[in-house]
């Protein structure tokens, strides 16, 4: 009896011991699963945090940031900036993190991937102004007549009010003036916040504070002129200051200098005039209209003396793509309009309330705005449909209206501005970009 009891107890102890060992083993494995997940999450968070810091330094930089490393959260992170391939003017930010973390099991640490490592990559490019449906340095009217005199509303605040709608990115480096219930389909960005009117109630997702620097006039002109000299079309009118008229006819263009063709009146292939798509008029204005084919940027710059008030782009009629991007987003036809001074919609008093002017282009006015010539003094002229966007120093007006109620147009145009989604990733050749960066893509494991 005594011996059998001892055998029984020993046997039971062995069985219980084996089971407890099994349970302990499960507990250890469970802890391993936890610590492995914790370790991978931790090292991932370090990599993401480092990438966030690196991205912020890049987006808000004054001096291009240098590579750096930092220890935090029990790990190490290295942030490096690389030239992107194949877009060499883009930047790839790589954040590589590493954490040494104890794993409790007897597993070979190599099988668990120790030390934990993770990499996050972000690709950034300069902010292109083509993507904005609305961009101003300041939300004030800045109408300058061709002779340099101010318009009657010069300096007045531009207000976004009930009935106004903006589709696409909208930004100002000043303050947005908001009253009533204007519509924005995206969060807007503003450098100096919002000036609220008495019935402020915008229909929008909200706003963020951001600043986008624009190039200097000197750099803008130099970059486009260099491109025009290297495979583009350069009209140097610094002597004589004769304006240039371009009438686009699909893949052809009629060139008239001055616009009555007295000095030159030729029709040629666009590819022959500007193989790389960049057309620059120096010391004069350029007048454009017609249907274009391919990717183009048409620009005009003034100068000194007789060219002081030059550098304007005159939109004499519809400027539209042959392959309409509104119906075919894969269209490769796109136009950039760059004015060193103003972009005018030419006065045409034959227009009526039912007239429509179509512009398919990204418009950029370095020191002026997109406006209608004498907008306060012309008949009610219908509607401007701008498919693309406008970036301007001041907030151009196209017409005058009495806010009512009822809202009544008095002079000029109403307008609809709609961004071209293609400009989120593409832009007309050598169209201006900001020195600021924005994210193109973000990769996390």
């Amino acid at each position: 009896m005594g011996r059998s009891s001892i055998v029984y107890v020993i046997g039971l102890t062995l069985i219980v011991g084996l089971m407890l060992n099994n349970i302990t083993s499960n507990s250890v494995s469970s802890m391993d699963t936890f610590t492995t997940y914790y370790g991978s999450t931790r090292v991932h968070n370090i990599a993401v945090s480092g990438a966030n810091v690196g991205a912020q330094l890049l987006i808000g930089y004054n001096v291009f940031p240098a590579n750096f490393g930092v220890d935090f959260f029990g790990g190490h992170d290295s942030i490096i900036y690389l030239s992107n391939t194949p877009q060499t003017d883009w930047v790839t930010l790589r954040s590589m993190s590493e954490v040494d973390q104890l794993i409790t099991s007897s597993m070979n640490p190599d099988q668990l991937g120790l030390p934990f490592r993770d990499t996050v990559e972000g690709v950034f490019k300069h902010v292109t102004f083509a993507k904005f449906s609305w961009f101003t340095e300041q939300e004030k009217n800045g109408y300058l007549a061709p002779n340099g005199s101010h318009g009657p509303y010069y300096g007045a605040s531009d207000w976004k009010i009930t009935g106004d709608s903006v589709f696409g990115p909208a930004h100002t480096n000043g303050k947005f003036n908001i009253d009533g219930r204007p519509y924005f389909n995206q969060k807007v960005t503003t450098a100096q916040g919002i000036n609220k009117g008495p019935t402020y109630n915008p229909n929008w997702p909200g706003f963020d504070i951001a600043y986008e620097s624009r190039p200097t006039t000197t750099n803008l002109q130099a970059n486009l002129t260099a491109a025009a000299m290297l495979g583009g079309g350069l009209f140097d009118q610094t002597t004589g200051n004769n304006d240039v008229a371009l009438t686009f006819m699909n893949d052809q263009v009629r060139v008239q200098i001055p616009p009555n063709g007295a000095l030159r009146d030729t029709t040629m292939a666009l590819s022959a005039l500007a193989a790389n798509g960049v057309i620059v008029v120096q010391g004069a204005d350029v007048r454009i209209k017609g249907t274009y084919q391919g990717a183009l940027t048409v620009s005009a710059f003034g100068g000194s003396g007789g060219a002081t008030n030059k550098g304007n782009v005159w939109i004499d009629g519809d400027v539209v793509a042959k392959n309409d991007p509104q119906t075919n987003p894969a269209s490769t036809d796109m136009m950039g309009i760059v004015a060193g001074r103003m972009a005018y919609i030419t006065e045409d008093d034959t227009r009526t309330t039912s007239s429509v002017l179509n512009i398919e282009a990204a418009v950029y006015c370095q020191n002026g705005e997109l406006t209608a010539e004498n907008f306060w003094n012309i008949p009610v002229s219908g509607r401007v449909n701008l498919y693309g966007g406008v970036t301007q120093a001041t907030a151009g007006s196209l017409g005058l209206f009495n806010p009512g109620p009822p809202l009544t147009f008095l002079n000029g145009f109403s307008y609809d501005i709609h961004n071209d989604p293609r400009f989120a990733t593409e832009q007309p050749p050598h169209f201006p970009t900001s020195s600021s960066y924005e994210m193109v893509s973000w990769w996390e494991n």
Binding site: I23, N26, F34, Y37, G122, T189, D208, A424, W442, N445
Partner: protein, 205 residues
């Protein structure tokens, strides 16, 4: 007489000892079973979570217009596009919960599927991503945290944030850890309240 009493007494004591041993054996076996089931559930959950996080973080990667990233957004079914393999082509990634499996003791168990198709629509990977899933619930939010109704196609371009809830259970009941007389399914629950791909959030496209 005393020998008989000794024999009877020892039989009674031996009986108690055997009963205690059997009870101990049952309890320890139950604990071991529960422990193993818990471990399996936890490992299954961890693996699923890693895959879900990895995929969802890449949503919209290299997509020219990130507002088009979400193709389908239902409560337990999501389809989005991304260059998931970084090979320059846009893939379609789909996660969805299958119907309950009827052959297991746990009637709530389903299969969570992950499918990847390339730009030509050819299936390139995925399949059953995890077993034992009893809940895969998705909620969608805008840039400012407003909820978006499932299957509201017009609002897919407003989705910035995705909330994911995942529950994994064992296929059979195991001993309760606290009250060993009860049994229940070993379970693990995970909730990611703010999973947002940076690629969806790109401003202005």
């Amino acid at each position: 007489m005393s020998v008989m009493l000794d024999l009877i007494g020892s039989l009674v004591i031996a009986g108690f000892v055997i009963l205690m041993g059997l009870r101990l054996n049952e309890t320890i076996s139950g604990s071991a079973d529960a422990s193993m089931a818990g471990l399996n559930v936890q490992e299954s959950m961890a693996e699923l979570v890693r895959n879900i996080e990895s995929d969802f973080r890449k949503a919209g990667y290299n997509v020219p217009d990130p507002t088009q990233t979400i193709v389908l957004a239902d409560t337990s079914h999501i389809k989005f596009i991304a260059d998931i393999n970084r090979n320059g082509t846009i893939d379609t990634i789909e996660w969805f919960l299958g119907p309950p499996l009827t052959t297991l003791p746990n009637p709530n168990i389903r299969v969570l599927y992950r499918n990847v198709t390339d730009s030509t629509g050819v299936w390139t990977g995925g399949g059953a991503a995890g077993l034992g899933v009893t809940q895969f619930h998705l909620r969608y939010f805008t840039q400012v945290g407003d909820s978006i109704a499932p299957l509201d196609v017009a609002d897919y371009n407003k989705i910035w944030i995705i909330e994911i809830a995942l529950r994994v259970e064992s296929p059979y009941k195991v001993q309760d850890v606290v009250n060993t007389d009860n049994s229940q399914y070993a379970a693990s629950f995970w909730k990611q309240t703010r999973l947002a791909s940076r690629n969806i959030k790109r401003h202005g496209g």
